[in-house]
Amino acid sequence: MAANEFIIRQISVFSENRPGRLAAIAHALEEERVNIFAFSIAEASGFGVVRALVDQPDRAHARLTQDGFNVAFTDVIAVRMRDEPGGLYEVARLLGEAGINIEYSYAYSGPAGAVLILRVDRPEEAIAKIRGAGKELISSAAFT
């Protein structure tokens, strides 16, 4: 399926909300020589979820599991945005009008442009809408 090349495996890690937990995760990834492209932390009372796009998701998953972390893969998509006012609006409006719900999202903006990472309820449909509107999706191969 053509759409699948745009579905990216994100690493999600359960973490208690206390000092040193992020350092433990980051240190493990460093030791495994895993590079992080994008990353976010969602927090609730007493715990959080660390989400990251990395170059070697299987390696990261294996190591963090071995270290006793609760780790899961989650499918996300990454859309290239115009890095100027209105860039985010374009993408968000597109999904909103299509009735696709964004469960969460985070973004990074660098010299190569701005990228929005999205977890949506219907990824295949989101991919079709975004591509239909002429927006660029980043393929999972670009991260490895």
Binding site: S45, F47, V49, T74, E103
Partner: protein
């Protein structure tokens, strides 16, 4: 062989009544004559040995308390000369001074006899290899099981507690068929074995667990039996009784208390009134033949009930249900009695979280605040915060409905809560009262 000592185990109820009455009568006369402590207590209560004219009259006798043993530290309750003693055990004093228990040759003999009957009743015999993973030494668990297992001709593997990986290696290499330890230590062994790539049910000869020294539940039994592929039996006893003494039989339905060795009652812990079979309360135990440290109407602090129905195994010796908590473990949260065993019970019914937990009690202003920390299971982990908060809420709701008191729940990483190799210490009470 299903009975170690058919003469006593097959004795009809009426005959046991007569035997028990005779033994109780003898005990009371002996205490009145040789125990200055119990003599004084009987005088205070206005009871004379002649007042005991039936088995029911035992209820007229005054209680003994844990505090009596501590207050008479180390040996002022002993009723035999020191040269009659062949051993001491000392129980850890979690709430003050330790308790010293002395044993005559006959005390050791009857303790061993009790366990020989118990182990035989669950189907163990010569040919079994019994790994004793209770602590050896001052604690009664290790040596008690050791002597009981040797008595029935089984092979003892005296691993004691700790060095878990080595325990698992020996279990495999020497073909242990049974293990005796605390349920929480067996869970720990199971987890360590899993990390070593060993499935206890598949890769070892283990098929029986004799578990006790801390409260556990039916859910935990089911979990242990399914996960580890063994049959798990409850064992009961405390150092004051001699040590671990009584177990369930093969029926796995209540712990048989040998009537020629002990007389068991259940009372309301508040009023001291006797309760009927089926009613839960505090156990009161009289050791009918114990010599060095006599135990008469001892309020042991454990909560249980006497099962009302007859056991399918045919023994006319009464059974108590598994211990559901301690009178003194009871937490009072905003005026409501809460037992850690209730929390364990709830958690075992929730597949999203593990069975380990920690309770932190604090006081916010004038209100008690209870926090229960639980581990999220790998299978239940969701990347979505909303899903995790739903788990948190489900645990809190279930706890509230069972405990009748609102509880905060904190989700923690798997494996992060302390595992205990002895009695579980799961409650941190930070209240300054």
């Amino acid at each position: 062989m299903s009975h170690w000592n058919p003469r006593f185990e097959e004795m009809p109820a009426a005959e046991l009544d007569r035997l028990q009455y005779r033994l109780a009568k003898t005990l009371v006369y002996r205490l009145y004559a040789f125990s200055p402590f119990y003599h004084a207590r009987m005088r205070e209560a206005g009871v004379h040995p002649d007042d005991v004219r039936s088995l029911e009259d035992v209820r007229k006798l005054p209680f003994m308390y844990k505090a009596d043993l501590r207050d008479n530290y180390p040996d002022r309750l002993f009723t035999v000369p020191h040269e009659e003693l062949v051993r001491y055990h000392v129980s850890s004093g979690t709430t003050g001074k330790p308790t010293v228990v002395g044993y005559t040759q006959k005390d050791i003999e009857l303790w061993t006899e009790s366990l020989a009957r118990a182990l035989t009743s669950i189907g163990l015999s010569r040919g079994d290899v019994i790994q004793v993973s209770y602590g050896y030494g001052l604690f009664t668990g290790g040596l008690g099981l050791h002597y009981g297992a040797e008595r029935i001709g089984a092979t003892v593997l005296p691993t004691s507690v700790g060095n878990t990986e080595r325990q698992i290696e020996l279990m495999q290499d020497l073909g242990a068929t049974a293990i005796s330890c605390t349920p929480s230590y067996l869970l720990h062994i199971g987890e360590v074995a899993e990390k070593m790539g060993i499935n206890l049910g598949r890769d070892t000869s283990l098929r029986t667990g004799i578990l006790g020294a801390e409260p556990w539940s039916e859910e935990m039994r089911r979990h242990i039996q399914e996960w580890l592929g063994i049959r798990a039996y409850d064992i009961y006893g405390t150092s004051e009784l001699s040590g671990p003494m009584f177990t369930e039989c093969a029926e796995q339905h209540g712990i048989h208390i040998w009537r020629d060795l002990a007389l068991i009652e259940v009372i309301d812990p508040e009023t001291g009134e006797s309760l009927q079979p089926g009613e839960r309360g505090e156990l009161v135990i009289t050791m009918l033949q114990k010599e060095a440290l006599p135990i008469c109407r001892y309020r042991i602090g454990d909560l249980s009930s006497i099962l009302a129905d007859d056991c399918a195994c045919g023994r006319a010796h009464p059974r108590i249900e598994r211990i559901t908590g301690r009178v003194d473990d009871m937490l009072i949260i905003r005026g409501i009695n809460v037992f850690p065993s209730q929390i364990e019970h709830v958690l075992l019914g929730l597949p999203e979280v593990g069975e380990h937990f920690q309770i932190v009690v604090d006081r916010q202003g004038t209100l008690d605040d209870m926090l229960v920390r639980v581990e999220v299971r790998k299978e239940a982990f969701s990347d979505k915060i909303a899903d995790l908060m739903a788990i948190q809420k489900r645990v809190a709701d279930r706890l509230k409905s069972v405990l009748n008191v609102a509880v905060r729940v904190e989700l923690v990483e798997p494996g992060s809560l302390p595992r205990f190799e002895g009695k579980s210490k799961r409650v941190i009470d930070r209240r300054v009262l």
